[in-house]
Amino acid sequence: MDDPNDRADRFELIAACEGAVLARLANEILESDPPLDVLQEPKPQLLMQRVREPVERRPFNLGEVVVTPAEVELGGERGFAMRPGKAERAAFSGAIVDAAIAGGHDRRATMTDELAAAAERREAERRRAWNESRHTAVEFETLEDDG
């Protein structure tokens, strides 16, 4: 998920970006009062998480995850975003950012830089978590009975 110009990558970048960053970007986009239609109101919904278990390799429903999707049309370009949790403002902002980048907004470069920076921060957190975990790697030794 590293190319903000690719729709699928951008979806993941927006999903992972801090809500405050998205809100700021969306406000900047709306400053010029572009035509905006809300195609899907941002409101919490459910995703049923499906997992394939290892014994029989069959899927089962683990449980539901709260997400907030939103969809807009900005200047004739559609934008879609989905955020984890109950996050109406972030989802709405994300959909606006998605549409603006897709439509070649003047501030597109700034927005893609912000999304890339958010992705880097997230990757750094993941990397730190992994390396801290590796720092607790242990080799258990079996105490053999020589007798």
Partner: protein, 377 residues
């Protein structure tokens, strides 16, 4: 006999609720924020989310705050909230191997590929009260980071090899029969009927009440069952949540959820001439290894489909495992049952009168013979 409505002053009920709320606010201590609960009592909020079958950490923290720490009440609140939401869709099925593990131990394999990662745990320390934590109260500034002095490496994150995959490579685990991809049942929409499918069993166990799973799993270990597993591995980490993008159809990741996972290898001795392995699996939202392990034991036990031991009887296990069900039935007993009780009183009195009439009052000074009375609750 049905239930009979009773009335009481709504205002009185509100007063009682106000008193309950006052208990949380009483005293000089500052109120706990939802953010604090989410960050510092994560295992409590994770349990509520797991038993509610709803992953939403912030909302789980809110539910725990509202329920004043009662996890089953909190999970009830989460399920009630869930019932108000539309379902966007099911996720793309993720393989459990996609778990990004930050803790992984294998009690079965000492030299498991990928290594034993203890991760964040106090499993190997003594359970002693830490009075230093009291000194944190009211301290200003950022708390000390106990890992601040660590000199950690800077490696690329990896996913560790799953032990079940290793056993399969060695031919110790039978390959499952190739079956077409079937749509799993969803017990939140279709009630479980017996015999329950494996997908239904796993879903019900995953949202079961931690204490109930632990007790039933423990019963198998205490001899009320055949299953005494060796855990292949226990993992804690994050599992991706994926959907198909509505515009492109590509599979994209929305977020990830913290889960606890456990796999067990279980020698089964029921058939003396054909000893075999059984396998158990446990997966649940949040950091709750106890529940994941108990789920593993119960999954393996249920596969034996026995009728003599509680943990091996799928109908019994699935009937009693859900926190909402048990909470509701147990706690409803404290609600008014005036008509039910009046009915029982009437019958008891009637029986006593008939008994006294029958013996001509000869036993009037002693208790009547014990009589079984049926209740209709």
């Amino acid at each position: 006999m049905g239930y009979v409505a009773v009335t009481a002053g709504e205002e009185i009920i509100e007063r009682a609720a106000d008193l309950f709320e006052k208990q949380r606010l009483d005293g000089d201590a500052e109120t706990l924020s939802v953010v604090q609960l989410e960050g510092q009592l994560e295992r409590l909020t994770a349990q509520a989310a797991s038993e509610g079958g709803l992953y939403a950490p912030r909302l789980a923290a809110l539910a725990v705050k509202q329920a004043q720490g009662d996890t089953v009440e909190a999970s009830f609140l989460l399920r009630a909230y869930r019932s108000t939401l539309e379902r966007w869709d099911e996720t793309v099925t993720v393989d459990h191997g996609e778990l990004f593990a930050t803790r992984r131990v294998s009690p079965a394999y000492k030299d498991v590929p990928g290594g034993q990662l203890l991760g964040p745990t106090k499993d190997y320390t003594q359970r002693l009260l830490d009075f230093d934590l009291e000194a944190e109260d009211g301290r200003e500034g950022e708390p000390d980071d106990p890992t601040a002095e660590w000199d950690v490496a800077d490696e690329d994150p990896e996913t560790v090899t799953n032990v079940m995959a290793i056993l399969r490579e060695e031919g110790l685990v039978e390959e499952p029969a190739a079956v077409g991809e079937t749509e799993p049942s969803d017990t939140t929409r279709t009630p479980v009927t017996h015999p329950a499918g494996r997908d239904e069993v796993l879903q019900e166990l995953a949202r079961g009440e931690t204490g109930a799973l632990t007790a039933l799993g423990y019963s198998a270990l205490r001899g009320y069952g055949q299953v005494h597993p060796t855990l292949a591995e226990v993992r804690v980490g994050r599992l991706p949540v994926k959907i198909e993008h509505p515009y492109t159809g590509e599979v994209v990741t929305v977020t990830d959820v913290e889960v606890s996972e456990s796999e067990a290898v279980v020698p089964v001795y029921a058939k003396r001439d054909d000893p075999q392995f059984a396998f158990g699996y446990g997966l649940t939202f949040g950091r709750n290894e106890r529940k994941a392990i108990a789920m593993t034991i119960l999954d393996a036990s249920i596969q034996l489909d026995g009728r003599d031991e509680p943990a091996e009887n799928p109908e019994f296990v699935l009937d009693v495992i859900d926190g909402m069900d048990s909470f509701g039935f147990i706690e409803h007993l404290k609600l008014p049952h005036y008509v039910t009780f009046q009915s029982i009183l009437d019958r008891i009195r009637s029986i006593r009168e008939r008994t006294l009439e029958g013996d001509g009052g000869a036993n009037s000074g002693s208790d009547p013979a014990p009589t079984e009375v049926e209740t209709d609750d």
